[in-house]
């Protein structure tokens, strides 16, 4: 009996020691170091910035996990639902952000971590997108925005007898998307049936993004059927398909990648982030691509936020990092290295940004072009399954492209598919 207190004490000590080591290893600390995991889709150009931040804060280390676009968001949803597996910091594309702002308790509220004072730093609509419905919680800070432009092949335009210089090209379709389709007809006739653009889904999406209301109304009701802007966009896209303008490629496939270099299509809708994509996919085509303005006014396509899942153990450290990372200085560096366009208006006056040109695109003044595009964007409300809805409609257009359905059949199947949403 006498030994019992000693034994108990020893057991307690052992348990405490175990708990202590568990706490250290479980939290990702290693000799006082904290490892922040960052989950991204594709390369965000953060590499050098991790190093820079680690120099400023030697106790912080980074581990980047990159997945494919769709997989990334599916995994994130799974990890949030099961309460484990998410990175400390996760990127969310704008098509998915509403899905997550609908469940703000699964994320650290950035307003409590110090973001409340920074509201004016971002474009207002970018800030709003990451705000929960009741405005009480902010789940993410904006990285880039995807103000749209139109990339085109100078060599192919020249062969078709179309103007080549970007101002003249912009003027060709300055009026509307109808003008763009008219130019497409001209191009097809002149070239004997070459493709004017890569995929009809992208053209459709661009038109929808420019409308005041997209596929959802502000109460998260699907308005695909009732919104006239959607119907018009669909009809014009179908017209372009039937005129044989689409290369019928699917984005992010090897065939699509190859098309940039081979020049199988002459134009592609170019949000800022697309420029770096073209550059890396078609390194041999430098100087052949150029950038004009997009028809139909301004609109945003893509762009991301960085969010902190509530299951992460280091909210303060992670927040401090993303606050630094999304500050104008760092966003400018990202733009320089990748072409992802900043979401912080302070830079739009900055000569360092507006004066930037890109040699690959025939020295196009990308700073100027995308600043103008971003400033002109009228925000559009993004509903919870935005990305999936647009994908479903895109598949409908795909069925017209491959000839398996008539436009009417495709449209009614789209509406049928959307009923299950």
């Amino acid at each position: 009996m006498k030994t019992r207190p000693i034994r108990t004490a020893m057991a307690a000590a052992a348990a405490a020691a175990l708990a202590l080591t568990a706490a250290c290893s479980g939290g990702g600390d290693d000799g006082g170091k904290i490892t922040l995991s960052v989950g991204l889709f594709g390369d965000f150009g953060f590499g050098p910035l991790y190093e820079e931040y680690s120099k400023l804060h030697p106790e912080i280390e980074f581990e980047e996990r990159i997945a494919e676009f769709a997989d990334h968001h599916t995994n994130l949803t799974t990890h949030l639902a099961t309460g484990s597996g998410a990175a400390d910091i996760e990127a969310v594309e704008v098509g998915y952000i509403s899905q997550y702002t609908a469940q703000p308790d699964r994320f650290h509220n950035l307003l409590d971590l110090g973001a409340a004072e920074l509201e004016g730093q971002w474009l207002d609509w970018k800030w709003q997108q990451a705000l929960a419905k009741d405005g009480e919680a902010l789940i993410g800070l904006g990285t880039d925005v995807g103000g749209m432009a139109m990339c085109y092949r100078r060599d192919l335009f020249e062969q078709a007898g179309l103007p080549v210089e970007r101002d003249e090209v912009s003027a060709l379709w300055a009026g509307s998307w109808e003008d763009y389709v008219a130019v497409g007809r001209q191009y097809s006739e002149a070239t004997g049936g070459d493709y004017f653009f890569e995929s009809s889904g992208n053209m459709f999406r661009a038109m929808v993004e420019q409308a005041d209301e997209g596929v959802y109304d502000r109460d998260d009701n699907l308005v695909v059927e009732s919104n006239p802007a959607i119907g018009e966009a669909w009809d014009l896209t179908v017209e372009a398909i039937e005129a044989g303008m689409s290369n019928r490629l699917q984005a992010w496939t090897p065939e699509w990648n190859a098309g940039f270099n081979e020049g199988t299509f002459a134009t592609i809708i170019c949000p800022a982030w697309m420029t770096s994509y073209i550059e890396t996919n078609a390194p041999d085509s430098a100087g052949l691509w150029d950038i004009a303005t997009v028809p139909g006014g301004a609109g945003n396509m893509g762009g991301s936020h960085l969010v902190l899942p509530a299951q992460g153990d280091h909210p303060e450290e992670a927040y401090a990092f993303i606050e630094w990372l999304t500050a104008p200085e760092q966003q400018l560096k990202v733009f320089e290295s990748t072409g992802n366009f900043p979401s912080t208006p302070a830079l739009y006056e900055d000569e360092a940004l507006t004066g930037m040109t890109k040699a690959y695109f025939n020295d196009a003044p990308v700073g100027q072009i995308f600043t103008a595009a971003a400033q002109a964007v009228r925000p559009q409300y993004q509903g919870p399954l935005q990305g999936d809805v647009l994908a479903t409609i895109g598949q409908g257009l795909g069925r017209i492209e491959d000839g398996s359905q008539t436009p009417d059949e495709a449209w009614s199947q789209v509406l049928g598919d959307l009923e299950s949403f």
Binding site: A70, W252, T253, P254, E262, Q395
Partner: protein, 329 residues
């Protein structure tokens, strides 16, 4: 009796633990019998324990989940009895997926097993470098299914694919393999066949080598050709092996997932198996519901159980079909 008493006598004194007392002896005997009767079960228990934990329990749990409206995104699980199965059977996309799966299964399995049979037959002949040829058979099977699917998807590419390039240089037109039903099924079936033909050939070969030589000698004396020997001697003799390969190929073929998923590319077509669902298999259909926007685990579980039943039925039909081999020949 006396000998026995003498034998146990010294032991009783030598063993102070009393193990040889009547009670101890009974215990020893019991332990011996227990060892004999129970040990084998104990030795195979780990397998069954693991199977129960990772096989049987998930199976039963899936059945339980399938009777609920069970989304990963919500903590509420509403009991709906057979509601999911009802919805499933009335969904035309399910029947479409079932049809696609069957079509791909037929296109992949039948030519594959016939080719395997012929290859195995060739391998029984005297060849130089026998081991080399036999090992070579297995190589495609060692390749990761993802790598196979990625490479073949590129080969079957519309604009820059090797297959179309060959077709074009032969004067035939290009084919948009992905957009058609039949063409996409063929492309996927080729991936499956490429991976499994050699494997099945080796299994057939092993069975063929167990067929007694004198049967062939008798057939030879009767004037049977090589081909006649294959179909009238070899095939009936290796019937159990054929049953095995048919059933295993059926089970695998009905669960094809990675091939169509990667063939569809990274976008939504990888989930629905093409814009018209022209190559969506059952597993892909399950994936679309279970691991896509709604995370409808209840519905996906119902799909899984339905698939299980389909596999049992198809395997059984195949078995009955193959059993006729002997009576026919």
């Amino acid at each position: 009796m006396t000998i026995a008493a003498k034998r146990t006598g010294p032991a009783r004194t030598a063993d102070p633990t009393g193990r040889s007392s009547p009670a101890g002896r009974r215990f020893q005997h019991l332990r011996y019998r227990l060892d004999l009767k129970a040990s084998p079960y104990l030795y195979i228990a780990p397998f069954f324990a693991l199977f129960a934990a990772f096989g049987l329990f998930p199976l039963a749990y899936t059945a339980w989940v399938s009777t609920h409206e069970w989304s990963l995104l919500s903590d509420e699980h509403v009991f709906v009895a057979f509601g999911n199965y009802q919805a499933l059977l009335s969904d035309p996309y399910f029947w479409n997926a079932l049809g696609n799966t069957m079509s791909i299964l037929l296109l992949a399995t039948v030519p594959q097993l016939l080719a395997a049979l012929l290859l195995a037959h060739l391998l029984t002949l005297r060849l130089r470098g026998q081991t080399f040829w036999r090992m070579g058979m297995l190589l495609p099977n060692v390749a990761s299914v993802v790598a196979v699917a990625v490479i073949f998807s590129q080969l079957f590419g519309r604009d820059f694919g090797l297959v179309n390039w060959v077709l074009e240089s032969l004067g035939a037109g290009r084919i948009d393999w992905q957009s058609g039903s039949a063409t996409s099924h063929i492309a996927i079936a080729v991936m499956v066949a490429w991976k499994w033909t050699g494997y099945n050939a080796l299994i057939f070969l092993a069975a063929m080598q167990a067929v007694p030589r004198d049967v062939y000698e008798a057939a030879h004396l009767d004037g049977a050709s090589r081909m006649q020997q294959l179909f009238h001697v070899t095939v009936p003799m290796i019937r159990p092996t054929i049953v095995f390969t048919v059933i295993v190929s059926t089970i695998y073929g009905l669960q094809i997932f990675a091939e169509p998923q990667l063939f569809g590319g990274g976008g939504p077509n990888g989930v629905t198996g093409g814009a018209s669902r022209q190559f969506q298999t059952l597993t892909l259909y399950l994936y679309e519901h279970g691991f896509n926007r709604g995370f409808e685990f209840g519905y996906a579980s119902a799909v899984a159980w339905t698939m299980f039943l389909v596999i049992v039925v198809v395997a059984l039909l195949n078995y009955l079909f193959i059993r006729r081999i002997r009576s026919d020949s």
